[in-house]
């Protein structure tokens, strides 16, 4: 018992150390983007800076130093919390992230929860009822999800639940935003609306925010639901053919135990990978969703930054996405190791 938990701990530590080089690599790329490819001077000047001041700025920010020294200065600034000034947001990068990042993460998490909670059972049912009606319906739903462009689906949702429902005099869903700022009092604490609503025990805010989540989360979640369902179905079908399933049946276990105890855990292993990768993809997918549903998240900020070559903002977004990818992968590997003993001993 003890021995194997120790193995698990060692594995976790090893795995965390392995992700450090990845982050450093991403930092190097962002550095190259800002300081090597472009003219780093551009980061510190605006229309009102006179050319006479250039030399002083170069000296102040160490721009005359050799590249590797500049890289260390860059890293030092990042770790000291100096991520530069965002022209698009008209404030420093760090407070900008603090404002927008929670909105994106919250949307991604809610969408992911929807996708996982519905997608996994749907995949299991589809696999166990293979070639029956349930399976066909599920497969069509999943196929639609993976082949539909996200912006089209978003617009359709909006057309139906906002415009048409409004026209028909039905209760309609809000068109965009995170909460009804006209009706509801909200002073952000963590900037996670749902979390803040729970912390302040504000039921009205909670349900208002939840209603605002419906369309964007449905839109973003559906695609991942489709991916998860398909993956779950195919890995479940694969696992159900395995010899250990025959063994489990030969023991006299009920079909329910065979599927949910013996097959599910094995079938989850490839599905977890997909969920992890999808979570990284969610952040990118959020860009489109956020634009359509006026969601004040990172996505809209990033789009604006890219359009105006706002290098500090682009770098910040890149680093954040990289960190999310790496953490998602780390979490996947940890879940992996708890699911599959062969990995933590490998």
């Amino acid at each position: 018992m003890k021995w194997s938990t120790m193995r698990l701990r060692d594995y976790v530590i090893r795995r965390i150390f392995l992700s450090i080089p990845v982050i450093i690599g991403v930092l190097a790329i962002t550095f190259v983007l800002a300081y090597v490819v472009g003219n780093p001077l551009a980061l510190y000047v605006d229309e009102r800076t006179t050319p006479d001041a250039y030399a002083a700025i170069r000296l102040e920010h160490g721009l005359d130093e050799p590249i590797y020294v500049q890289f260390f200065l860059y890293l030092r600034n990042l770790f000291a919390g100096d991520w530069g000034y965002s022209n698009t947001a008209r404030m420093d990068v760090i407070p900008t992230i603090q404002r927008y990042f929670p909105a994106t993460i919250e949307l991604a998490i809610v969408s992911m929860i929807i996708a996982v909670v519905i997608g996994i059972p749907l995949g299991i049912i589809s696999a166990t009822k293979k070639d029956k009606l349930t399976d066909h319906v599920t497969r069509v739903i999943a196929l639609a999800g993976v082949s539909m462009p996200i912006f089209w689906f978003a617009l359709m949702l909006k057309y139906l639940f906002y415009f048409q429902f409004f026209m028909w005099g039905l209760p309609f869903l809000p068109e965009g935003g995170r909460y009804s700022f006209i009706y509801v009092d909200y002073t952000p604490i963590t900037n996670f609306v749902l979390l803040d609503a729970v912390l302040t025990l504000n039921g009205v805010l909670f349900f208002d925010a939840l209603i605002h989540f419906v369309m964007p989360a449905m839109c973003l979640g559906y695609i991942f639901l489709a991916i998860i369902t398909r993956m779950m179905r195919s890995s479940m079908l694969e696992v159900l053919k395995e010899d250990y399933i025959t063994l489990a049946r030969s023991k006299g276990l009920t079909e329910r135990v065979v599927i949910y105890r013996h097959a599910l855990r094995n079938a989850m292993i490839p599905t977890v990978t997909v969920i992890g990768l999808a979570f990284g993809g969610l952040i990118t997918g959020a860009v489109l969703t956020e634009t359509i549903f006026s969601w004040p998240g990172l996505g809209r900020w990033a789009v604006a930054a890219i359009l105006t070559s706002d290098i500090p903002s682009i770098n910040a977004f890149t680093i954040l996405v990289a960190i999310i990818f790496v953490s998602a992968n780390l979490i996947v590997d940890l879940i992996y190791a708890t699911l599959d003993p062969r990995i933590r001993y490998g």
């Binding site: 194997s4 250990y244 025959t246 063994l247 030969s250 006299g252 276990l253 094995n266 001993y345």
Partner: protein
């Protein structure tokens, strides 16, 4: 023609149908047909398999690859996966319940729930490949404990465990302030021993795990306590095979089916496992079915042999009888194919021809395209089952050996 001696012990089964079994027969497979509905066509894998297993026997199924040995085993357990379908036949099983009462029933007619009670409990199977059969994500001990707690009540064992534990605490510290309480508790538990209350899930799990370790000990697993806490991939092939055998024996089954259980093992381990099986058979008062390619194994460990060819049991006899007087042309071909150390042969003898395609099997006797004694009737009619000598059954129009030319 062989006719079943209809015996007196007719017992009604749950389906109110009367099944008869000769005394001592514990499993009677009659006319079992199993087909696989594949895209290429219907694979008629079993075409009326009939065979009997008596109490205390070790019966071998032998035959070329693809002749339906594994499908027979799986059909008996009703474990044929789709696209396989058991289409006809009876698998009559004499079930010995705890109070020594006997229930005779056709396994193919039981409900899925009743069948589950048989699987792993009354009839257990050890599969061919120890590498792929244990579930990779569960500890060996837990996988064995699972089948134990599924089929056994464990009430008494749980109570005994509790008493033991209390007595231990008492022995360690007899002057404990709550010693009186503990003593009272012990006598309370002891009074319940005749009619133990159902154990809690937690107690049951602990007892089952303990029994799993005992089972591992019984199959001579080195350091069973440690192995019980390990995962299948940490074990060697032979150890895994032992673990699977321990699992299948853990509910004291009346029939143990070993589907090439030893093929994957090297020769010394193989011999160990086979000896173990025969020892355990005596300990547990069970019968064994061994499926194998290895006629050496058959000669050493089995009391009876059923020779299969293309989904049919073509010959059945005691091992000595079959080896000394093979009657079916296929059997003699099979026996001639074993190299003998004493004879010098240039080339190993083989049975000419190929195993037939079971989607369009040969008409009549399925062996006729390869048989040197075939006549026109062989391709027209299926040979009936005949008892050529007492206890020696064959399906052939022109039996050879000592009964040659009798008809």
């Amino acid at each position: 023609m062989m006719t079943m001696t209809e015996s007196d012990n007719e017992i009604h089964d749950s389906q109110d149908e009367i099944h008869t079994l000769e005394p001592d027969v514990i499993l009677d497979v009659r006319g079992l047909k199993t087909s696989f509905y594949t895209y290429e066509g219907v694979v008629k894998a079993l075409d009326g398999v009939s065979v009997q297993l008596k109490k205390g026997q070790t019966l071998a199924f032998v035959g070329e690859t693809g002749c339906g040995k594994s499908v027979t085993a799986k059909s008996i357990m009703r474990l044929v996966d789709s696209p396989g379908v058991i289409e006809a036949g009876e698998v009559v099983f004499r079930d010995r319940t705890l109070d020594k009462e006997e229930v005779i029933s056709d396994l193919l007619k039981l409900s899925e729930d009743e069948m589950r009670h048989i699987r792993g409990n009354r009839i257990a199977i050890v599969f061919q490949d120890p590498a792929t059969y244990p579930n990779p994500v569960f500890r060996v001990g837990d996988q064995i404990a699972e089948v134990i707690s599924l089929h056994q009540n464990l009430a008494e064992e749980a109570l005994v465990m509790k008493i033991d534990r209390l007595e231990e605490t008492l022995a360690e510290n007899p002057q404990a302030p709550n010693a009186e309480e503990i003593k009272e508790k012990i006598s309370e538990y002891k009074s319940q021993l005749d009619d133990p209350p159902p154990p809690t899930d937690d107690d049951k799990k602990k007892v089952a795990k303990k029994k799993a370790v005992e089972m591992l000990k019984m199959v001579r697993m080195p350091s069973p306590e440690e192995i019980a806490n390990q995962y299948p991939h940490e074990l060697s092939g032979g150890m895994r095979q032992r673990a699977l055998i321990a699992m299948s024996l853990s509910c004291n089954p009346q029939i143990l089916i070993c589907d090439e259980a030893t093929t994957a093992l090297d020769v010394t381990v193989q011999a160990q496992v086979l000896n173990l099986l025969n020892e355990l058979k005596a300990d547990f008062d069970s019968s064994i079915i061994i499926i194998t390619h290895d006629l050496g194994v058959v000669a050493e460990t089995c009391t009876h042999v059923a020779v299969m060819y293309a989904g049919v049991v073509v010959e059945y006899a005691s091992t000595d009888e079959l080896f000394s007087d093979p009657v079916h042309p296929y059997t003699s071909g099979l026996l001639r194919a074993i190299p003998k150390l004493t004879e010098k042969v240039d080339r190993l003898l083989q049975i000419k021809g190929m195993v037939p395609n079971l989607i369009t099997p040969p008409t009549g006797c399925r062996f006729h395209p390869r048989c040197e004694f075939a006549t026109s009737i062989c391709s027209e009619q299926r040979p009936p089952r005949e008892e050529v000598k007492p206890g020696h059954l064959v399906e052939c129009f022109h039996p050879q050996g000592s009964v040659k030319g009798r008809r």
